[in-house]
Amino acid sequence: MATGTPAAEPLTGLAKVVEQVKKPYFAVFLVLAAVTVFEIQVPGFGAYGIPKTVQVTMLIATAAAKASLVVLYYMHLKYEPLVLRYVPLVPLGLVAILILALVV
């Protein structure tokens, strides 16, 4: 188990709460799971008269929200320097043009 460096002291009390608020990994996991449960229900919304266009919009919006959570918190982009945040953001405009050009 030796690492050559001593293990950090486990956080307790307020320091632990602050750490969990700053990097809410478990909360993000719960949100991702809950939104996925919602997504699975969406194809059945047609039975309640909700049009397909609305269903598709809902699914794209929830997918974008889930992806943002993973990128910001699990991939730590929220904690990276501002310039690094633009690296994956800039191509999204080109991606939107590509998708629209292919589909429309």
Partner: protein
């Protein structure tokens, strides 16, 4: 080397098939070089110096490289998803989810949970090594690997059922000619994603092996864990979009 191997390999598949063996050869040479470096004790987990002063000063050069690689992957998957949507909008028939689609939504939903859970355990592994807690790090890393293997196994099971029982093939099938385009787009999107998950599983296997070596990853030196983690989370992000597009819409 991997990109060159992939490029030549795919060019061979499309144009002159023996050329694809050249791609396989380049892949083997690239991997052999990597393993040789590893056998000689090159440390891939070292902290690298930040980039030189300029636009990206203060950012680790390897992390920056990984992000640029992920940007190229965004374009790769956007092209595949965009083409699939283009084919779909022009197809005369498309099965509706939960009505006449042969795809198993409940099983894939379970697989989606598995991939999300693996992202959570991956970030826990990084948290563990950042705090110098080797037990937490190793357990979380092992859990991530097992979840990744489970995801691939379920996908193989699903492919087996779809191909042999539902007659969903990537090409025109006399049993289900109506599903030709649907099959092509389904296997193209999920297949390339599955190949990426396999790549991630290989990376995670490497990390798991090294995690048990004394002083390989430490609280101060663990960038390799973060880089493989970035790739693994990206694979999760791609699935977050593919699941609704392929299975639910």
């Amino acid at each position: 080397m991997l990109a060159l191997a992939g490029g030549v390999g795919f060019a061979g598949v499309i144009t002159y098939f023996p050329l694809s063996f050249v791609g396989v050869g380049i892949l083997i040479v690239g991997l052999a070089g990597w393993f040789l470096q590893d056998a000689r004790g090159v440390r891939f987990g070292e902290i690298t110096h930040p980039t030189e002063p300029g636009m990206f000063s203060g950012v680790s050069i390897r992390k920056l490289g990984m992000w640029f690689f992920l940007v190229s992957e965004i374009f790769f998957f956007s092209a595949i998803i965009g083409n699939s949507l283009a084919l779909r909008t022009r197809a005369p028939y498309w099965p509706a989810p939960g009505v006449d689609s042969p795809l198993n939504i409940p099983l894939t939903a379970v697989n989606t949970f598995i991939l999300i859970a693996s992202s959570f355990t991956m970030v826990q592994a990084l948290k563990g090594i950042e705090k110098g807690d080797l037990r937490h790090f190793r357990l979380a890393l092992l859990a991530t690997l097992l979840l990744g293997i489970t995801f691939v196994s379920i996908q193989v099971f699903e492919y087996n059922k779809l191909f042999f029982e539902e007659h969903l093939t990537p090409w025109m099938n006399p049993f289900r000619p109506d599903l030709a385009t649907f099959g092509t787009t389904f296997y193209m999107q999920t297949g390339f994603h599955g190949a990426h998950v396999m790549g991630g599983v290989i990376g995670l296997t490497y990390l798991n092996v090294k995690a048990w070596k004394k002083d390989w990853f430490t609280q101060q030196s663990h960038e390799g864990v973060e880089l493989v983690g970035l790739y693994w989370h990206f694979v999760d992000v791609v699935w977050i979009f593919l699941f609704p597009i392929v299975y639910l819409i």
